[in-house]
């Protein structure tokens, strides 16, 4: 293998792939990056066996070939190189790099030891805007569970239908769901459960408006745009019936200023229990009262004017959950609904007149309040 590449192309390719390469692994070759040179240019690939990222970069290829090299070292090296063309070649398992008057030799490992990528069929691929997909990912994947006893909840549910797609994530305490109109005639409905790590790569590499292709095989999903590909293992379902838990009969409605809510909750959090972050919200006509009582620490109270006309309601929440959800509400005003102190509350963006956007709903389960 022998090729010449600009320093910037090398850096960009390495940076795109590096995030998929595990820092600690029992399989040494996984900490390497696979570099392949052929007629089309140079392809760099990395994987942690759950997800794989592969990227084509422009290069002047003199001799085709492939080798894997330690990703971290190569990336550190690329970062320090002067802005000169980089000449790369291999001799057996030795990787050689020259740039300006500097030259380096790194010990590589042959391509055979590198895991092969899953075969994903892009023939019947869904085609959609990378920007739309990234928004869905961004607005929902924060809500996935970090606790490992229910692997299903460690994934993000992506439901694709003929006219609508949805993305849903929850940890069993709060949930985020976003809907987007699409047009996939005759595709039928498909439920995919995807590790959020893979979606983070998608969001990172495909945030632009270009159309991306999404193809699947039995257990894997592939994303493709231009020379960049992301493959991920799918989590096996079924996903819990989230639609059933989204309340339809919440009869208490409030509209509040998001910034005001966030600031008050942040102040309450200072005094709230470090473990439960419990804060009490008392909704009264026109007024929301916050209060926190931590036996070991003290108390906090605050009031916020809101638009609320229902019966008075006292409800407890984990302030951290509320704050997190509020952070993702894309509008300045937020619409909240409630039924009772032990029932789910919902939060939705309030879009100004004339503006429209994807349907977005967050749900937060309350904490039990004890008198």
């Amino acid at each position: 293998m022998k090729f010449t590449i600009t320093r910037d192309n090398l850096q960009q390719g390495l940076a795109s792939v590096a995030a998929s390469i595990p820092t600690r692994t029992t399989l040494p070759v996984l900490s390497n990056i696979l570099i392949e040179a052929d007629g089309a240019g140079v392809r760099m690939s990395g994987t942690d066996l759950d997800i794989a990222v592969s990227l084509q970069v422009a290069a002047d290829v003199e001799e085709e070939g492939a080798l894997t090299v330690p990703a971290k070292k190569l990336q550190e090296l690329a970062r320090e190189l002067p802005e000169n063309p980089v000449r790369i070649s291999t001799k057996a398992d030795r990787f050689e790099l020259a740039c300006g008057r500097a030259s380096f030799k790194l010990n590589g490992m042959p391509r055979d030891e590198f895991p092969t990528f899953p075969a994903v069929d892009f023939h019947d691929a869904w085609k959609l805007s990378g920007q739309v997909l990234s928004t869905l990912i961004h607005q929902t994947s924060f809500a996935v569970s970090t606790e490992e006893s229910r692997p299903i909840l460690n994934g993000v549910l992506w439901q694709l239908g003929d006219r609508e797609m949805r993305m849903v994530a929850t940890n069993g305490h709060r949930l985020a769901v976003m809907k987007q109109a699409v047009n996939f005639p005759g595709a039928g409905r498909v439920d995919l459960i995807i590790p959020p790590k893979a979606l983070a790569q998608v969001e990172r590499l495909f945030a632009g408006g270009e159309e991306i292709e999404v193809g699947r095989s039995e257990n894997h999903l592939g994303f493709r745009q231009g020379g960049t590909r992301i493959f991920t293992r799918l989590i096996e379902g079924p996903y819990p019936n989230y639609e059933q838990v989204i309340p339809k009969d919440n009869d208490k409605h409030a509209d509040a200023d998001k910034a005001g809510l966030i600031q008050a909750l942040r102040r309450m959090s200072v005094v709230a229990s470090e473990q439960t972050h419990r804060v009490r919200l008392s909704f009264n006509p026109g007024l929301l009262r916050f209060s926190v009582e931590s036996p070991d620490l003290g108390e906090a109270r605050e009031e916020l004017e809101i638009d609320y006309q229902g019966e008075p309601l006292d409800i407890g929440f984990n302030a951290a959950y509320l704050l997190e959800v509020l952070r993702y509400i894309p509008t300045a005003e937020v619409h909240l609904t409630f039924k009772a102190p032990e029932r789910a509350a919902t939060l939705e963006p309030v879009r100004p007149e004339g503006e429209s956007g994807p349907d977005y709903l967050c749900l937060v389960m309350p904490l039990r309040l004890l008198e």
Binding site: S149, Q275, P295, D296, L367
Partner: protein, 641 residues
């Protein structure tokens, strides 16, 4: 009042009666039956007399386990000839004079029975001399005074007891082998030596030295002289004063408590006594810090106001009676628990842990030539042979605050927040003022959750009050139902345990035994944060669960808890009642697991909350949460010393 020696024989002669008063020698022999059982009891009585005579050095030598000969020599105040003769009379004593004295008795003996009793069952020679006068030698055999003569002797008293029980063959027959009797003497002298630190003791058996104890500056020194340095380093000091009751002493560090028989010594006012209820209080204080069933060693020194204890319950004074037993037991328990909350109670990697740090009480200057036997532990008022000083001096004035270095180390945190390091996703390393702390993240979190839930239940995690003792089996459900009304009130007031509603309720199918546990403990489980209801068959549905940490799985925790509660385990058997059982199993199953990577913030929170608990160094299984390594040990290992 008749005096026995003159009037009774007369009466016997003049009027034949079937009932008569026993002659003195026989009465003494009978009294000896209570006081003098074995050579060890002779040693005890004679050494106590020596201590009451303010001896600073007491030498005991025995032959053939004391059966042939016991010699006790002291450098005490001695006696004149008249006193020496009178001392051999029953109820002759210098220690009390009026009935009121009995209440405030501070001397070891006072009944005036010991010496005549011993004399009545042996051949006894008493040599004694007061300062600056000629000595007296009195010889007695079987209670008959054979003669009194002058002798040359330094100030002090020597009692030689030979041929014990020569005139009571029935009793002589019950004496055990010389080895056993010797051990009895070693034990009794050890106990007396632990009670009297500033006196030196020597014990020789057939010319061989068994104990050689120089006057000790404090209890750890005496313990080290007695049982060896290594044993002394296994102890930590405890001290507490409450409502006039002062408790001081040494108790065993929980991590070194072993299944071997314990050394438990109790003293009140410097007097050894037995009391299984106080030992039970000690064991209660150790709850959760050691494996259930282990018996920690302890030396507990009590001091109570005059009149608060009756020592005249038992002829050999082995038992005492406290006026306010609950207060004494409570103070002992609280003192030990307070000791177990300190850093020095934590397990250590040190090859030679530090000697226990005694909080020194001031001692008054020696007055009137009476040696001060109460150097280290006792409040000044406890000094024998003197009236107790007023309460204020005993309670406050005499106590010197904790040694500065010890106080500083009580808080393991150095200046600023300690930097914490996670080792193998299992242990947290922290710097302390005196070295390094290794914290087991799971054990630490267990301790936190246990105390938190017990408080949520409205009980102190360790106090005797709060939780009623376990009702008989079968009534747990009834008790739980009975508490239903106060349920929410309790938890609300104490902050309780928060319960997070679940978006997807858990449906658990249970075994019959597990289902019974849920039925019985529904209310407590609810107060622990698990809100559930029966769902037909043996299925329950869980609507809400606590969330003790972000990696918590309610399903796994609840399933493990129910399995353990249904199946029983060492932990559930160690619990005193259902509250503890639920709290312990929840702590054990709900705590952060080993192998869980923690962020620096999470480590910090765990660290802070651990050291806010009552017993931060011990988890609920009786295992350590913290193992410490001192700088001294590191210096030793690196050859810096």
């Amino acid at each position: 009042m008749l005096t026995r020696t003159e009037q009774i024989p007369q009466a016997l002669q003049s009027m034949p009666r079937r009932i008569h008063v026993l002659p003195d020698t026989l009465a003494n022999q009978i009294a000896a039956g209570e006081v003098v059982e074995r050579p060890a009891s002779v040693v005890k009585e004679l050494v106590e007399n020596a201590l009451d005579a303010a001896a600073t050095r007491i030498e005991v030598s025995i032959q053939n386990g004391g059966k042939t000969e016991i010699r006790v020599a002291d450098d005490g105040c001695g006696m004149g000839r008249d006193d020496a003769l009178l001392a051999l009379d029953r109820y002759a004593t210098s220690k009390i004079a009026r009935p009121e004295d009995l209440k405030g008795v501070r001397t070891l003996g006072f009944r005036g029975e010991a010496l005549p009793s011993i004399a009545s069952v042996s051949r006894l020679t008493l040599e004694t001399a007061e300062p600056g006068s000629v000595g007296t030698r009195v010889r007695v055999a079987g209670g008959r005074v054979l003669g009194a003569e002058d002798c040359a002797r330094q100030t002090g008293t020597t009692v030689l007891v030979q041929s014990l029980f020569f005139n009571v063959p029935a009793r002589a027959k019950f004496l055990k082998g010389a080895g056993v009797e010797t051990r009895g003497i070693v034990d009794i002298l050890s106990t007396l030596a632990l009670a009297n630190l500033s006196s030196a003791f020597l014990l020789q058996s057939n010319g061989r030295t068994l104990l050689e104890l120089p006057a000790a500056v404090d209890l750890p020194t005496r313990v080290a002289d007695l049982w060896g340095d290594e044993i002394a380093r296994r102890f930590i000091s405890v001290q507490l004063q409450r409502e006039g009751v002062s408790v001081a002493g040494l108790v065993e560090r929980p991590d070194v408590v072993s299944p071997t028989p314990r050394r438990a010594h109790l003293f009140v006012g410097g007097r050894p006594f037995r009391d299984r209820f106080l030992i039970a209080a000690l064991d209660r204080a150790y709850r959760t810090t050691i494996v259930q069933g282990l018996r920690p060693s302890a030396l507990i020194y009590l001091d109570v106001p005059a009149g608060a204890v009756d020592v005249n319950v038992h002829p050999s004074k082995a038992e005492v009676r406290f006026r306010d037993r609950d207060l004494v037991e409570g103070t002992v328990e609280a003192a030990v628990r307070e000791g177990l909350a300190g850093l020095d109670s934590a397990a250590t990697l040190d090859a030679t842990p530090a000697m226990p740090q005694i909080r020194r009480l001031t001692t008054e200057p020696r007055g009137g030539g009476v040696p001060d036997n109460q150097l280290a532990f006792f409040v000044a008022g406890a000094r024998r042979g003197e009236p107790p000083p007023d309460e204020d001096a005993a309670a406050g004035g005499a106590v010197v605050p904790l040694d500065e270095a010890v106080a500083a180390d009580a808080v393991p945190e150095p200046e600023g927040p300690p930097s914490l390091w996670q080792l193998h996703d299992t242990y947290i390393l922290a710097e302390s003022r005196s070295g390094l702390l290794l914290i087991d993240q799971h054990s630490a979190h267990e301790r936190i959750l246990y105390e938190q839930l017990m408080r949520g239940f409205g009980s102190t995690p360790h106090g005797p009050d709060g939780v009623r003792p376990e009702a008989e089996s079968g009534s747990v459900a009834a008790a739980a139902v009975g508490e239903d009304g106060e349920d929410e009130v309790d938890v609300g007031r104490s902050g309780g345990v928060a319960s997070q509603r679940l978006l997807f309720p858990l449906t658990l199918r249970l075994s019959p035994a597990e289902y019974t546990v849920v039925e019985d403990a529904m209310v407590l489980l609810r107060r622990a944060g698990f809100e559930m209801e029966p769902f037909g068959g043996r299925t329950v549905i869980v609507h809400a669960a606590p969330q003790p940490h972000p990696y918590f799985s309610p399903e796994r925790c609840l399933r493990d808890m129910l399995a353990e509660l249904a199946g029983g385990s060492e932990l559930t058997r160690a619990a005193r009642n259902q509250h503890e059982r639920i709290a312990m199993t929840f702590a054990c199953k709900g705590a952060i697991k080993a192998g869980q990577r923690l962020s620096p913030r999470e480590m910090q929170e765990l660290f802070d909350r651990l050291f806010a608990t009552e017993l931060p160094y011990h988890d609920v299984h009786g295992r350590p949460t913290v193992v410490r390594l001192s700088l001294q040990e590191l210096e030793r290992r690196f050859g810096r010393t």
